[in-house]
Symmetry: C2
Subunit: 345 residues, 2 copies
Amino acid sequence: MVNIGDVARAAGVARSTASYALTGKRAVSDEVRTRVRQAAMELGYTPNAGARALATSRSNVIGLLAQFLPDEFAPAMLQYLQGVTDTARDLGYDILLSSDSDGPGALKRITDSRMVDGVVLLNVAEDDDRLPVLRAAAQPGALVGLPRDCTGVDVFDLDFEEAGRAMVEHLARLGHRELILVSQPEHVVERGGAYVWRLQNAAVQAAAAKGITLHTVFGAATQPDIGRDLHALLDAHPGATGLLLNNEAAAAALPTVLRTRDVETPADLSVIGRYSDEFARTFSLPYSSIESAPDRLGSMAVRQLVRRIENQVPEGDPYVVRFVHPELVDRGSTAPPHLGEACEP
Amino acid sequence: MVNIGDVARAAGVARSTASYALTGKRAVSDEVRTRVRQAAMELGYTPNAGARALATSRSNVIGLLAQFLPDEFAPAMLQYLQGVTDTARDLGYDILLSSDSDGPGALKRITDSRMVDGVVLLNVAEDDDRLPVLRAAAQPGALVGLPRDCTGVDVFDLDFEEAGRAMVEHLARLGHRELILVSQPEHVVERGGAYVWRLQNAAVQAAAAKGITLHTVFGAATQPDIGRDLHALLDAHPGATGLLLNNEAAAAALPTVLRTRDVETPADLSVIGRYSDEFARTFSLPYSSIESAPDRLGSMAVRQLVRRIENQVPEGDPYVVRFVHPELVDRGSTAPPHLGEACEP
DNA sequence: CGATAGAGTCGAACCGGTTCGACACGTCGA
DNA sequence: TCGACGTGTCGAACCGGTTCGACTCTATCG
């Protein structure tokens, strides 16, 4: 394998000069620079990543800690990955992917061994056991998901409170008086998925403020259970005119459920989900939804992380907790309630 | 950061001795070994990955080249990733993930810079432009997907020919005489997805051998197009009693289509798909299917790759092309055809 | 004209591991 | 008692980059 010494010899200069010519970290005469570049090109020189990392204590690699949970919806996870990898590549970083179920152990290994310059954590739980390890590490970290304690890390998440409010208020404005909210299953909450509560509590508050009845329930994460849940719910609350979904599986199952019941949206029922546009396309879901923007969140986390790695943050820049504003993507599944009934009397 | 020199000093031995004590590459007295281990433990020593890679020319990292294509079904892709990452971790390797759209460029970069000890390629096309780069690289490579030219690499794929035969013969045995095969969209084929042809050709041959009529068609990759396609197909071939699906989107859309048409499986129509069990669970698909085993394929590729990396292959071991046998997972969606009609006359 | 600044180059040291050859010591057999 | 051998340890070199300080040469200014 050709190394920088070979390049230097071919160009007739010292190793250090070749290095400066290629990295541009010191002034080099035009003539020497072109000679070195030429030699490097002809010999097919590529710097050895290990050696460079050793010398500079920078690897240009970002660690990505994901967990492929069986009840996570795969398409959403892949979108996070894509947001992270694409942005990292654009900024000149590679991605070291760990899906180790021993999150803390994997994190400690890749940070202590200096394989990575920084770390992005996905699926962050409220009391995530990776956080103590991350805080003890020498490298900066960025999270996708809001933990209880945000000290020492940059945090990015959807504004689930605002999402809950927006869902309720949107239907309230249309005149709805009784709504149902289907959340993620309870075990997601128990695992630390606080976002479920954040959305739900905000929705409950907003409903109370408007004098609206809101039924809340945890749905299953898989079919056919979630389908049964939805039928039972609609049976139990015949007066409800709006359905809010903070549960991907429920959204995916809903078309079949509504068809079976011969219920039309938005004529008979208004529906608002919370999922990404990509998700909506994959399952061809016709419901308006709060965009959860997984690719954008992944991208934001990487950008901030790289800023920290490269010390582009102002001296003593405080850590960031940034919420993405929930945009309501209108797919025409909401309307004023019960137009039919209103005509009856 | 604590390095091996610190450990050696704390244990009162030379750096080299500390290294031997920790790696076990030379005999060390029990007493010294325990002293070094103790010191390493107390100081919290972790070897520097870059330095080790530089010295040993081994990084213990495997490159994973995936392409997140918009028409790839996300859940399947995630399963490949999971198979690869899990197996790699078990064997002591980390994963460098690249989803760069410039596959050849990314591959050249990570191999030339010695960041990885070997490479796994996903989504391998028939004439994959990453293959020349891989063959020129110093590291071994394993593919998931069958290219035209397999020299210099280990290849793993589902036996799509056998899958096509098995689908047809299964329904033939049950007495079906007219079948429909829905393949992936044509642009998947054009991109080099030869597996579409492999399955289809084998199915056509098997049907001809049995004297069965087989209608073949490329389906769309997204809803609602694929739903329309399915309706049109069933309208066009009212005599068909069996439906074969080599198209994930078609499988996901089928329940809705059949419900609309008031068609029951297997009473009115027998159905066999080609997708993973995980996929079937995610979409709660009730159809028997050929298991495509993405996690297993990913795992096999990594295992073979690691064997090559660690030179555990017998001297001059030839490169491998291994097909996974397609298992038919019975979900009860096939039966003898037209029982109803048979009683009519 | 001499001091000085700046540009460009070089040699050497360093990053943190691994590994080779040499050496010291104790044991065994002749 | 001497030499051969095996075991355990050490020092030094090496992997392939980067970076610091020193040096040379030229241009500039007082």
